[in-house]
Structures are given as C-alpha cells and as structure tokens.
C-alpha cells in the first residue's frame, strides 16, 4: 500500500538513522513510502513561536503538495513536524485564518488535505500486533526498554489523537509484539528540553538528565524514542546531561524503528546503529547480533 511521506529535515541531517530504519521497517511491513516532491521545512518550533500564520503557511505548502498525491494518508516520523502539520490543517478550517495563510502562499491551498499521522500510528493501522509479530525474525526477549514519547507526540490530545496524552501505549504494543520487555516508564511524556540545547543548555541538560537517571535506575537496556530532537538531547547531548547531574549514564537511546528493525532481522548497518553516540553494542551482544556475526541478517 502507498503512503505519502514527509520525512522532515532532521531525518536528512542529524538523524539519517531514523530515516534508514523507518524505510527498512516500513518496507518489511509492506508499506510503500512515497516521499512528497519538493517538500520544505515545516518551520519547527521557531516558526510557530514567532508567528502562527508563518508556521501554518510553511506547513500548508506541504499539505497542498500532499493533496495532489494519490494517497489518503500522509505519514511523518517526526512528532514536531506532525504537530505543526496537524495544527496547520486545523487552522485552515477557519475561513478567516485560511484567507490570511493563503495570502502568504503562491497559490491558494487545496480545500482538503489528506489525513496526517505518525509513522508509528501508520504501522499499527497497517498491520495488527499479531501480524507484526509474525514478521519478526529475531525475538527481542533478551531486551528491556523504557518507552519515551516526549511531549509533542500525544499533546494536545484533541489534535494529535494519540491516545491518553499522559500515558500513550502504542510503542509498547509494537515492541512487545517483538517479545521485548517494555517497562512502565513514568516520564514517558515528560519534556527533554526541546530545542533549547543551543540557546539555554542548562534547560536540556537538566530535563534530559532526569529522564536518563530514571531509565538508569530502572536498569533498562535502552530508552526507545520516536523523536529526532529527543534522541539528540538524550544521546548526543548525554555528556552535557551527565555533567549537569554529576554522574555517568552510558544509556543507549534507540529509535523505535531501530528496535523493530533488529526484530525484523535487519543488520545494524541497515538501521544506522553506528550513528548512535552511546553504542548499541551491549544490546547486540544480548541478541547475539554483534556487527561481526551479522551474517544471515538482511
């Protein structure tokens, strides 16, 4: 089945591993991702923080391109893009706001857009847990994860439609379908400090340290995430969090698509695991899938 696909800028730069693993897992599930032609940046936090209509116009240009594709659903892996696209689509339902956003565009936007949803929800809608389980080649039963969604994926609930805004459970159902142990992680929707890493490092360091500390105390093998910014704050910026908390974490932080990809038998290379700052080798050893004996994997 074909899905229109909006990758978002992060997946093209800092998070190419998210992109690679998303594409690999979707292919394994029979989901054909058709990238929007000439898509542009959704504006991320800076655009909506500066002006709602500027943010909406940047998003609507993409939604308008998506409206001209064959698909009924537009998927994106990034919660921040998802949030912006969904807020923009909602904004366009108000005629006054629509007129002001259209004023910023080359041509007025289409009157209807395809539904926008996360890759994670797209997977769950495409195949149920049983079918997903039937496609695994390698059980993840040796691994224990802390699921971490970040603050944007499930909030605000009426726009994101991702289940309980403080206790989403979709990632758990996907990972347990691959036989992983997934703990109840109380900070699963806490904020990691978002885009403040550059202008106010103490914010991200402090908030990320809280999440890393709890996961460490719970003795998980990895934190599993769905957001490129969360991944960067928890992984690449982990030394800054360690400094703020005056401790060492050494906690691997994987995308959920990388975890699923391991279950589907993809090689660490196909999933971009080498991009992680904190190595996932400890997980691979437990799975017996060391980079060295990746033979037999896809």
């Amino acid at each position: 089945m074909n899905y229109a696909y909006y990758p978002g800028c992060s997946t093209q730069g800092a998070s190419t591993d998210y992109e690679k693993s998303t594409r690999a897992v979707c292919a394994a599930l029979g989901m054909n991702l058709v990238e929007l032609p000439e898509w542009n940046c959704c504006g991320s936090t800076p655009a909506h923080a500066v002006d709602t209509e500027l943010s909406a116009a940047l998003c609507v240009r993409n939604l308008d391109i998506a409206a001209r594709q064959e698909s009924e659903t537009l998927l994106t892996p990034c919660p921040s893009c998802l949030s912006n696209l969904k807020h923009a689509a909602k904004r366009m339902q108000n005629p006054e706001a629509r007129a002001r956003v259209n004023e910023l565009l080359d041509n007025p936007a289409a009157s209807e857009f395809p539904a926008v949803t996360s890759v994670m929800q797209g997977m769950a809608a495409h195949l149920d847990a049983k079918e997903i389980a039937s496609r695994t080649r390698k059980s993840l039963s040796a691994l224990t994860f802390a699921p971490y969604y970040g603050c944007l994926m499930s909030r605000p609930a009426e726009i994101m439609k991702f289940g309980d805004p403080e206790n989403p459970t979709l990632m758990e159902s996907l990972l347990t379908a691959c036989s992983a142990t997934v703990l109840d992680f109380p900070l699963k929707t806490a904020c990691c400090g978002a885009s403040y890493g550059i202008p106010e490092r103490s914010m991200t360091a402090r908030l990320s340290a809280r999440i890393l500390q709890l996961a460490t105390d719970m003795k998980v093998d990895a934190i599993v995430v769905a957001c490129p910014l969360c991944q960067m704050n928890l992984d690449l910026r982990q030394p800054q969090a360690e400094k703020a908390a005056d401790t060492r974490f050494a906690m691997p932080v994987l995308y959920f698509t990388q975890a699923l990809g391991l279950a589907f038998g993809f090689s660490p290379d196909t999933l971009g695991l080498e991009k992680l700052r904190v190595s996932a080798d400890s997980l691979l050893r437990k799975l017996g899938t060391g980079a060295a004996n990746a033979a037999g994997s896809r």
């Binding site: 800028c9 093209q12 730069g13 800092a14 998070s15 190419t16 032609p37 000439e38 898509w39 542009n40 940046c41 504006g43 991320s44 936090t45 800076p46 655009a47 909506h48 923080a49 500066v50 002006d51 709602t52 209509e53 500027l54 116009a57 940047l58 240009r61 004023e103 910023l104 565009l105 080359d106 603050c151 944007l152 909030r155 605000p156 609930a157 805004p165 403080e166 806490a190 904020c191 400090g193 978002a194 885009s195 403040y196 890493g197 550059i198 202008p199 106010e200 490092r201 103490s202 914010m203 402090r206 908030l207 690449l236 910026r237 030394p239 800054q240 080498e274 991009k275 700052r277």
Partner: protein, 194 residues
C-alpha cells in the same frame, strides 16, 4: 504586583480582550489552583511561574506579563494545558503572549529569539533547515562562541552535520522564500515587528 492601587493603575482592559481573542481562551476561568505551575518542567528557569502569568494576564497587567522571562523559556510542552482543571489551553496563552511581546519589540530573552531566526533564515534561504548554518548564524547574532563546541567532534565523526545545505529543487526554495517575503511585507503593512 505590590498593592491594589498599583494593580488598578497598571490594568489594561484592551490587553485582556486581545489575549482572549488571539488565544481563543477565557482568562477569567482561571481560579489559581496552581496545577499548571506544578507540572511545568521549565519553571526553574522562570522569573514568574506560569500561574502568576495567568493571574497577571487575567488582571490586564500587560507590561508585567509581556516583559517576563517566563514566556521565552516556555517549552510549549502542553503539560499545563493538559492538567488545567478548567480546560484552559495555558500553552496557547503563553504562545500568544510571546507573539504579542515580539510584535511590540518587548523581548526579554534575546538569545532565544536569535536562535529562532538563525534557524528560520536557513529555511528562508534553502527551503529546508540546515544545522551548521543555524549554528553559524546564531554565533554571529549572539556574538558568542558556539556553546556546543564540545559536541562538535562527535557530531562530525558520526556525520550528523551535513556541510552543505539541501536546496529544495524545481523552484521549491524560491516558493518558500516568497512565503517569508510576504510575511514580512504584511507585518510592515500592519505596523508590527515581523
């Protein structure tokens, strides 16, 4: 907010209406339970906690609220909106206040705004954001040596930072540039800071 006379003098009824219209929220429904503040992850960096911002807005204390540091340190995480017993979208109010403060050039934490524009200028130029460009512009604008220099070796080794921006092809970058151009022109026409 020192005493009653002070509050009466500073009260700006037009401001209350403006915040309510832009955010779509009713300020008078806040009864100061403090739930928003209890759950706010950024509160440690605020000068006024978010329930005090709500109270200030409710009373029409425009300058107090728009000059606060809090509205710039807010992470837009929506925890406050989620936990407000009166279903006030508090995060939307924080965002509205930020927009109003920007438009009136009352930006109390300039570095945050500088970061946003460093990012947006790469989008305006190329149609997509570009990490290295954002960082370079931010260093120039804030005149500070890049605070993340400790991350650079690792980020470069892992090839997380493309050296060249991706330019959206087939006129895409131009179309995005024109969105920014029209946005600026309209702000000028309307007499607000873009």
């Amino acid at each position: 907010m020192s005493n009653i006379t002070d509050i009466r003098l500073k009260r700006d009824a037009g401001f209350i209406a403006e915040v309510e219209a832009a955010s779509g929220q009713k300020l008078s429904t806040c009864y100061q339970c403090g739930n928003c503040t209890a759950g706010c992850p950024a509160g440690f960096a605020y000068d006024k906690q978010v329930n005090r911002i709500m109270r200030g807005a409710q009373l029409g204390l425009k300058d107090d609220v728009l000059n606060s540091r809090a509205i710039w340190m807010c992470l837009s995480c929506f925890t406050c909106s989620l936990r407000c017993p009166n279903n006030i979208d508090v995060a939307a109010i924080m965002e509205t206040l930020r927009h109003m403060a920007r438009k009136k050039n009352m930006v109390s934490v300039r570095k945050v705004e500088k970061f946003w524009f460093s990012f947006l200028n790469t989008v305006r130029a190329f149609g997509r954001s570009w990490e290295i460009g954002t960082m370079a512009l931010y260093m120039l604008r804030s005149l500070r040596v890049f605070t993340d220099i400790d991350l650079a070796p690792e980020a470069l080794k892992k090839q997380k930072l493309p050296f060249k921006p991706y330019v959206v092809p087939n006129g895409g970058a131009g179309a995005v540039g024109r969105i920014f151009k029209r946005y600026r022109e309209r702000a000028d026409r309307e007499g607000v800071r873009p």
